[in-house]
Symmetry: C2
Subunit: 337 residues, 2 copies
DNA sequence: ACGTGAAATGTGATCGTACACATCACACGT
DNA sequence: ACGTGTGATGTGTACGATCACATTTCACGT
């Protein structure tokens, strides 16, 4: 009674119904020229009528092209990586590519290797690594991955292309802003040690502090969360030997401000706080957050552009940098004298 | 000099090097029983040595199983959908499935159809729709999509499985909380009209208000952003005929609070504000936000579980609901008399 | 020593498409 | 009338794996 799963129509079914050879149908699908317009129409009608969809697996098998780009991201719901990911997906789609995403819950070597293996089994034609952690590069080398690779938010490396917001410059701008306001004791709340962008922001901070001949405490290693920022804020208050904090992202800055206010301190009156990223909520925090804006969507789009260029065999400049922008709001002010 | 792209090793290459037939290699790959342990080891060694990776396209072609789940999400960087997505990816991976994600930048019919077509061409075995918009269902019906489907954050429908946080219950809890505090004039700032979860939250709000025999203004349709919340907050202040606002998400609540404070009002002293979602930053807003928590990761995981169960042919209950939880913080208080 | 059944391994066909090449139809110049 | 070039269409084969079935190996009871 119930018909067993009817096989999906294939190219030969279409051909038969349209009264042409399967090759003619194939030509229509790949819109080759030298197809008479009338037959083309006839074939297209049959395709629409029977709901034929080309089988990508068969196509990939014979062309050995998957038209797929693999994306390795970290398993976080952060605004930046997510925004970049969506931009990547959109740019790839427009170029006729599709995205296979896989995310990294932990940063141990085995997990990274496993995720990369996973992508390679998909026979992705290129790889985008978002918010890469240092160890990712070891794994890539070990697996002898040969497809084109673009990394985001990374510092320069020589063996692959990268596209990054100039994190170091951004961190210097944030730090400079605090110094220009008159702050001399500035604390840096960094991201996790194995994140390349955390490292870059820390580097920028340290360089700027150094250039201004200031001393500073060793940066505190955080985990990007507001909870952690809150926790660090409370700890910092036990010493009170600072007048400003530069947090490596907006969420941690929010947590810091929360802790400071709970302790009766005024931001920016007693302590100035700068964040990083300019997430959409930052303008609505209390006080509105001074931060460094990066255009996540832009780097997502451009990373796909770079990758596609490499796939087409065009060799462009290997390392691109996007300049971030300092957004001054209300969370920073000159130190109280 | 430079060797042309060497063909990747295939199953026959492995077989030859291991001195067995390709079928034996295939058996090792699919770890069938009845393989002598010594030959199995030999084959595995060769596989590791030559870096052989099974070609998924070929496998999919013959088995007509792609082990891929398609995910349709909206192109937003919001915490909730993103968290669910990561959970889905992880759960699917653990079950040996992979995820093909595609996102919806606009909600017009053509775009939705295009994205669904895209997924169907991938021959996904199942479909998860995150944060669905009303029109998605029309498109699914039109395309006669026959693969198992699970939707998240949706209200009950009869023709597919769904898994949802009970948005209506959550909205009622939030509203009830305000009523219990003594508020009588409550404004609802809703999400966009075509989002099912926005609709559900609005419904919950209206029902609770109705049950309490209160009147209310027609809900304001927002776009989920803090910017919009801020804008609405300013508009609302022109009337001041309310003592509390229930925002359909935390970001809009943040924007509202910002606007109120800018106008010199105290939250919760002059106006109470409730959000929805309990994003990780909500606890650190000023004041810490009273909101409704939903476990996004949990519904992501469970949606995959439902989908896989259906793929295995198990027919379970079709609609599951997860209860949200009211988190009372400092943004709500009794109205000033 | 030999038949027998189970375990281990091998052979042919197949999935749905694209590519290379072959063929056909037809117009056109000489 | 005929060769010829070009546009339109058809035929054979390969991609790399799995499945169904065939065959070989081998231990064991009689």
């Amino acid at each position: 009674m119930e018909p067993d799963k009817v096989r999906a129509p294939n190219i030969r079914d279409v051909a038969r119904l349209a009264g042409v050879s399967y090759q003619t149908v194939s030509r229509v699908l790949n819109n080759s020229e030298s197809i008479k317009d009338t037959t083309k129409q006839r074939v297209l009608e049959v395709i629409a009528q029977v709901g034929y969809r080309p089988n990508q697996a068969a196509r990939a098998l014979v062309t050995s092209r998957t038209r797929t780009i693999g994306v390795l991201t970290s398993q976080t719901a952060h605004y930046g990586p997510t925004t970049s990911l969506h931009a990547i997906e959109e740019a790839a789609r427009e170029a006729g590519y599709l995205i296979s995403t896989t995310s990294l819950a932990t940063s141990d070597h085995a997990a990274i290797v496993d995720r990369l293996e996973h992508l390679m089994r998909q026979a992705v034609e290129g790889l985008v690594v978002i918010a890469p952690q240092v160890r990712v590069f070891d794994a890539i080398r070990q697996l002898e991955i040969s497809v084109p690779l673009v990394t985001l938010d990374s510092t320069r490396r020589d063996d692959h292309r990268s596209l990054s917001v100039d994190q170091i410059a951004g961190a210097r701008m944030a730090t400079r802003h605090l110094i220009d306001l008159g702050h001399r004791e500035i604390v840096h709340l960094s991201g996790p040690q194995d994140w390349i962008e955390a490292e870059a922001r820390m580097t920028g901070f340290l360089r700027e502090v150094d250039d201004a001949d200031l001393t500073t405490h060793p940066p505190i290693l955080g985990d990007w969360t507001a909870d952690f920022g809150h926790h660090v804020g409370r700890e910092l208050l036990r010493y009170r030997d600072f007048t400003a904090v530069f947090a490596a992202n907006d969420q941690m800055a929010l947590g810091l401000i929360h802790a400071f206010r709970d302790a009766g301190l005024d931001v920016p009156g007693d302590v100035s706080v700068v964040g990083f990223d300019d997430i959409p909520e930052a303008a609505h925090y209390w006080p509105p957050l001074t931060t460094v804006r990066q255009d996540f969507a832009e780097i997502g789009r451009r990373s796909v552009g770079m990758l596609l260029a490499e796939l087409r065999g065009e060799v462009e400049s290997s390392h691109e940098q996007v300049r971030p922008e300092l957004i001054v709001r209300k969370s920073t002010a000159p130190p109280r004298i």
